[in-house]
């Protein structure tokens, strides 16, 4: 397996220079591996994990999760409509789900009104969309594996121990 991919799967919090040290490669080799992963469409990009509730980052972003029921199309199944929905800038994540609804859509907007408008004017009016149920996010506790508050403190270990 690509050694850089291993490190990315395990958290991806290392810089390229650190990855080079950990994998025992040169930085150039790490970059080559990253390029290969990009070519193979496995590695699609970096993204930061932010605590948007912090004052400095509070760019008035509203997030919501929408359960969407849709009618599958003959020949295209759910893919065609899922693709159309995913293309909206407001949509951050879109999954096809088993269970009582079909798509789980994570959206963001600059205000509650904007998200509501997106749902009522764009999403629910699309042909094939049967119903939507929108849940607004009140607070984020954990994002992409990172605890936003209440991190474990392992820095209270004794400095020297037998």
């Amino acid at each position: 397996m690509n050694p850089v991919l291993n490190l990315l799967i395990d958290g991806g919090s290392l810089t390229q220079a650190q990855m080079a040290q950990v994998a025992g490669l040169s930085e150039a080799e790490v970059n080559q591996h990253l390029e290969q992963l990009k070519k193979d469409k496995i590695f699609l990009g970096w993204r930061p994990v932010l605590d948007l509730s912090r004052a400095a980052a509070a760019a008035a972003t509203v997030r919501a999760v929408i359960e969407v029921r849709i009618t599958p199309e003959r020949g295209g199944g759910f893919n065609h409509l899922a693709d159309r929905i995913s293309r909206f800038d407001e949509v951050e994540t879109c999954h096809l789900m088993s269970g009582s609804y079909d798509l789980l859509v994570f959206v963001k907007g600059s205000s509650l009104q904007n998200v509501a408008r997106f749902v009522s004017e764009k999403l629910s009016t699309m042909e094939g969309v049967l119903s939507t149920a929108t849940h607004f996010q009140l607070r984020c506790y954990k994002d992409h594996g990172v605890m936003l508050e209440q991190q474990d403190s392992s820095n209270e270990r004794l400095e020297v121990a037998p």
């Binding site: 400095e159 121990a161 037998p162």
Partner: protein, 392 residues
Amino acid sequence: MSKDPQQWVAKHVASLPKSGIRDFFELVAQMKGQDVISLGVGEPDFVTPWHIREAAIFALEKGKTYYTSNLGLLELRQEISSYIAKHFSVSYRPDDQVLVTVGVSEALDLAFRAFCNPGDKVMFHQPCYVSYSPSIALVHGEAIAVPTYAKDNFALTVEALEAAWEPGCKILMLNLPCNPTGGTCSREQLEKIANFAREKDLLVFSDEIYSELTFEGVHTSIASLPGMAERTVLLHGFSKAFAMTGWRIGYACGPAVLIEAMMKVHQYSMMCAAIIAQEAALEALRHGEESVVRMREEYHRRRDLIVRRFNEMGLTCHSPRGSFYAFPSIASTGLSSEEFAANLLKSEKVAVVPGTAFGENGRGHVRACFATGYEDLIEACDRIQRFVEGLK
């Protein structure tokens, strides 16, 4: 007229040497707040996996606040028995061959108190964990240190054992993989040691606390070799593999008669291990294996990193097959272990432990624990390299 309070201290306690670790601890403590990166720790940097902590909280909520059987919760002993059968290929009856203790440290103390008469000789390989020699002194035994060498990757050899053996040797203390060297023995080496133990009729204490952190090949327990279970007390615990150092929970497995003897001491001195720690240990054995594998893989990568860096900067370092300690030679710098550690701390603010803290045979080495995140580990390596280059 009052006398010096020192007079009240028992002679054999007064004559115990101060731990070399403690001296160094003081030195590091003085530099608190100065951006010191410590590779001097002896525990995982991971906190106990959440599902284990959560199980302990649940146990408290259910009101589990009472004493348990002296031997420990039966359910836990059953899980320990299955775990040891699966990973160590030895079977112990949960009813009378497993004793739950307050960490391996207590188990070891019990073993010495239960089996060592005054004057009995105890062989142990050195460099080794700091408490072996003092524990032997506390029961008025005689410590016989058997050296292990860098040229053997700090594996214990039967030749060294034969050279050190003398009449009156009763107990052989093993710690493989070893703190501080990371040394282990291959199955063949272990078979020779087992032969030696049978030939000399030795009782074996085998502290296998780092066994899950074996990076290459499979860990072999000496208790699993033919004819050895009956003369071996296997000591193990949860601290290292499950990142549970602060819970103080471990166990001893062995022949019923021996466990009964240890239990006698345990029941009068400790009664039982804390029930909350036992509940956490139960969860660890039932559902913790994935976390162990994940942590081991992480340590493995860190080991490869630090060993490579040490060798690149001219500090010869064998690749420890187990544990989370690298034990490089600092002989090429011309400094003693203590000078190296103290000067490194002063000039580059990296703490490593002088090899001499682990016995005379650790001379010329330092112990560097790689249970530390990459960022600090890489920075520490950069600083050590700068320090070593500055000496040239």
